[in-house]
């Protein structure tokens, strides 16, 4: 048979299958009807599955193409496009306290803030490992310490922010540790977005896929918070008259120690900084001394310096914070200026500034 005849036969079979499926090939015998129903079901399921895969890919690709805000930062990290000399790692306190532009201006060193909102040390280690594996080696890593530095993640705040990066081994390992069912996020199309995406982050992916970027909220990784004191701490204090006990989980201690180990392996100097915390909250923490004793132990063992801002004048100025843990933009500017001045004179950077990035 000629190729043309083959094509005609194929088209005719497909047309018959379609007529059968849509009921146009009447009259049908009982056997035909069964065949039609089975075909219909199969087609529907197949189309459904293909559509789900296509949608998943569109969202995934879109989120990986974001160049702004949080996804923009992580996309740069996993693409290995960063060559910062000072890298800041940590949680939302790192994210909102370290003004990279200001530090860069004062020290003359390229600075980038990797702060990851709503994370504990275990996730921060994974993120830092990914950074160091994929990007240029920095001259200094500053890891910001938190009162919850030794807490272990029982959940990740808005885990969708890590959903497009489950191919990264370090990120996947920690996500899997927190969410043992996270393998379904990776292998079932749309599943992760369906079960975890309460904030419709997938829409940002779809929009970017169609060519529109989300608004920028981070400058060199830093996110300024123009928020006045919210009053949440006052309610928190009233509901905890007996004070609060900070979590000192042994796994959390190991995670923080792992940061020192990771930096040592990559030959990158590390500095721990405990950025300002509102002094009302400091007084409320009953085992704060114990927390700092553990910090001291880890830093002494690894030979890492700690710069503790717990007694900085900033800590007593309520108008520099928007809650007990987070500085607002005014507070962050003051802290960053002071830190940058100290950094500029430090042993790690005083060897001479490299060319300032634009």
């Amino acid at each position: 048979m000629s190729p043309r005849a083959d094509l005609r036969a194929l088209a005719s079979s497909a047309a018959y299958a379609w007529r059968l499926m849509t009921g146009a090939a009447a009259p049908l015998t009982r056997g035909d009807r069964r065949q039609r129903d089975a075909l219909r079901l199969l087609w529907f399921l197949l189309l459904g599955a293909l559509g789900a895969v296509a949608l998943h890919l569109a969202i995934h690709t879109g989120l990986r193409r974001v160049t702004t805000a949080d996804f923009g930062v992580t996309n740069q990290v996993v693409a290995g496009r960063l060559d910062a000399e000072i890298v800041i790692s940590g949680s939302s306190r790192a994210l909102t306290h370290y003004d990279s532009t200001l530090i860069q201006k004062t020290t003359g060193r390229k600075t980038f803030n990797l702060g990851l909102n709503g994370t504990q040390t275990d996730v921060q280690v994974a993120y830092l490992k990914t950074y160091l594996r994929k990007n240029a080696k920095p001259a200094l890593v500053i890891h910001n310490l938190d009162p919850s530095a030794f807490a272990v993640s029982h959940e990740i705040f808005d885990p969708v922010k890590l959903m497009p990066y489950l191919d990264e081994p370090e990120i996947y390992a920690v996500v899997l540790r927190v969410y043992p069912h996270a393998w379904k996020w990776r292998y079932f199309p749309l599943y992760g977005y369906a079960v975890e995406d309460l904030r419709f982050t997938w829409l940002a992916g779809a929009r970017t896929f169609l060519g529109s970027q989300p608004p920028e909220s981070r400058v060199l990784g830093y996110q300024a918070r123009h928020t006045p004191w919210t009053g949440d701490f006052d309610k928190f204090k009233a509901s905890h008259p007996e004070g609060v006990k900070l979590d000192l989980n042994p796994q959390g201690v190991k995670d923080l120690a792992e940061i020192t180990e990771v930096c040592r392996r990559h030959g990158v100097p590390l500095l721990f900084v405990y950025s300002p915390e509102y002094d009302g909250m400091q007084a409320l923490s009953s085992n704060r001394a114990e927390l700092f004793a553990r910090f001291a132990e880890i830093s002494a063992k690894a030979g890492v310096e700690i710069w503790d801002y717990s007694s900085s004048f900033i800590c007593s100025q309520r108008d520099l914070f928007y809650n007990s843990q987070h500085l607002n933009v005014t507070g962050a500017t003051m802290f960053s200026q002071d830190l940058a001045r100290r950094l500029a004179q430090s042993r790690w950077l005083s060897g001479g500034a490299t060319k300032q990035s634009p």
């Binding site: 529907f44 459904g48 977005y193 079960v195 309460l198 419709f200």
Partner: protein
């Protein structure tokens, strides 16, 4: 097993394939086994409680039919008492001992509350009531006792309606287990469409609104009047979409298998009075109480005071059926009071409307009646949802205070979720309104295959992406 879980998404198609491929004589045992599996997915050991209830009522049914005179009544009473005893132990024992301890404390006696560590078996009140209706109907001679233990067990345990109804009567469901249900594409597709509508109500509307409601009702003192009002409005839709969504999935999945279940909801928020609301809300339970409690009480007392007593008793018990807490009892009684007040003020209200020149069937009057009924229902929902009577007082007193439009969102429910929540409610209302005039299923079926399938797939993806899939239980499971 939850309907809104990946497990059910795998279980249901697999079971359907097995069910339709199985020979006729194997289908009932297969359905029973699947129902047992479905139930045991929650707490396996609790199947024994269900088994005890089934055996008691199965045997009682046969003896009620077989014997006559006082023995017949004794079998009925014995069956009711033992079935209710199971319900009492698992659902009300802690409530009872807690209140007994409180009363004894007031009287100066020192009885300690023992606090039994009992977990309420899921859906216990539903299958208890379904079992009770069976023995009562056999006693009344409305239905023959079922001799086939497998069929009777499947009737009580039928998985689509096992844990949250509709509470069926034997006349409605039992005989369907004797009929062979062949695979029919149109019926299966219609069942799947009904399930899809139920899933939409549950995962897109109810579970999204639950994020807001749970935050606000969890600590009402932390929220302003606007948030309290919005949370109450949202709860009205949450509980409706949660429960009617469950019923849609139950009716739809039963239809896929070839069974017809009774309708449990009929757009209750379009009711023009509280009595109409109760004819359109949780119909299977309302009609259960009407047939087995209210009508016998009215029959017994035959006076205006007797009527009022019957209403208050029925609604009080109905409240207690919903949960072992005073808030539920107060909620039930409040609805009883609404009904009594509605009946007593009907004539004066009609006179006022006539004096104002507003006709009975005018749009204005209908709108006022619908809004008033919805408002009263919402006040009832505050009592139903709040965790204590103190919270009820706080919420009702602060509805109108401190409306801060700059603070609407909550920790779980950021403002960006609001458009999805509102859009969900609008879709629901639009579909319900249109469906009153036009049968949307028929309209959909008239579309050519390609756009119809595109619509189905878009609906499915919309549910996946706009839904909340956090294995949230259905509210009525706890009852």
């Amino acid at each position: 097993m939850l309907f809104n879980s990946l497990t059910f998404a795998l279980f249901f198609p697999a079971f359907c394939a097995l069910y339709f491929l199985a020979p006729r004589q194997v289908r009932m045992p297969l359905l029973l086994a699947a129902s047992c599996g479905f139930y045991m997915y929650f707490i396996p050991a609790y199947i024994l409680i269900l088994f005890v209830t089934i055996v008691i009522d199965y045997v009682a049914g046969i003896y009620i039919e077989r014997v006559s005179g006082p023995a017949r009544k004794a079998w009925l009473v014995g069956s009711i008492v033992s079935t209710c005893a199971v319900l009492f132990v698992f659902k009300y024992l802690n409530f009872f001992t807690e209140n007994l301890a409180a009363v004894s404390h007031l009287l100066g006696w020192d009885i300690k509350d023992p606090r039994w560590n009992i977990i309420l078996p899921i859906g216990l009140s539903f299958h208890t009531f379904q079992s009770l209706s069976y023995v009562i109907e056999v006693y009344r001679g409305h239905h023959k006792a079922e001799k086939d233990f497998v069929i009777y067990s499947t009737y009580v345990m039928f998985f689509p309606q096992l844990v949250a109804g509709p509470i069926e009567r034997p006349q409605g469901l039992l005989d369907q287990f004797r009929v062979h249900h062949a695979f029919e594409w149109e019926r299966v597709a219609s069942g799947l469409r009904r399930m899809a509508w139920g899933f939409f109500k549950k995962v897109v509307i109810a579970d999204r609104l639950a994020l807001y409601v749970n935050d606000v009702y969890g600590a009402p003192q932390n929220f302003n009047g606007l948030q309290l009002s919005l949370a109450t409005f949202f709860f009205a839709y949450q509980i409706y979409c949660d429960f009617s969504g469950y019923s849609d999935i139950a009716v739809g999945s039963a239809r896929v298998l070839g069974f017809r279940l009774m309708e449990n909801f009929n757009t209750p928020y379009y009711s023009r009075s509280i009595s109409e609301f109760w004819r359109r809300w949780h119909i299977s339970l309302s009609s259960w109480f009407r047939d087995y409690l209210y009508d016998p009480l009215v029959e017994k007392f035959r006076s205006s005071a007797g009527w009022a007593f019957a209403i208050l008793i029925t609604f009080g018990v109905s409240g207690l059926w919903h949960g072992a807490a005073w808030t539920y009892v107060v909620w039930g009684l409040l609805n009883g009071v609404y009904l009594l007040a509605g009946g007593l003020t009907e004539e004066p209200r009609n006179r006022v409307y006539r004096a104002l020149g507003i006709a009975d069937d005018s749009v204005l009057r209908t709108t006022i009646r619908i809004m008033a009924t919805f408002g009263l229902t919402c006040v009832g929902w505050v009592v139903f949802r709040a965790t204590s009577m103190g919270d009820v007082g706080y919420i009702l007193a602060n509805f109108w205070r401190n409306w801060d439009f700059g603070r609407i969102g909550t920790e779980q429910f950021l403002l960006r979720q609001m458009p999805a929540a509102i859009a969900g409610i609008l879709v629901l209302e639009t579909v319900q309104l249109v469906h009153r005039r036009v049968n949307l299923s028929h309209q959909l079926l008239r579309l050519p295959a390609l756009p119809r399938w595109a619509f189905y797939l878009a609906w499915a993806y919309g549910m996946v992406l706009f839904g909340v899939f956090r294995n949230e239980q259905f509210i009525y499971f706890q009852f």
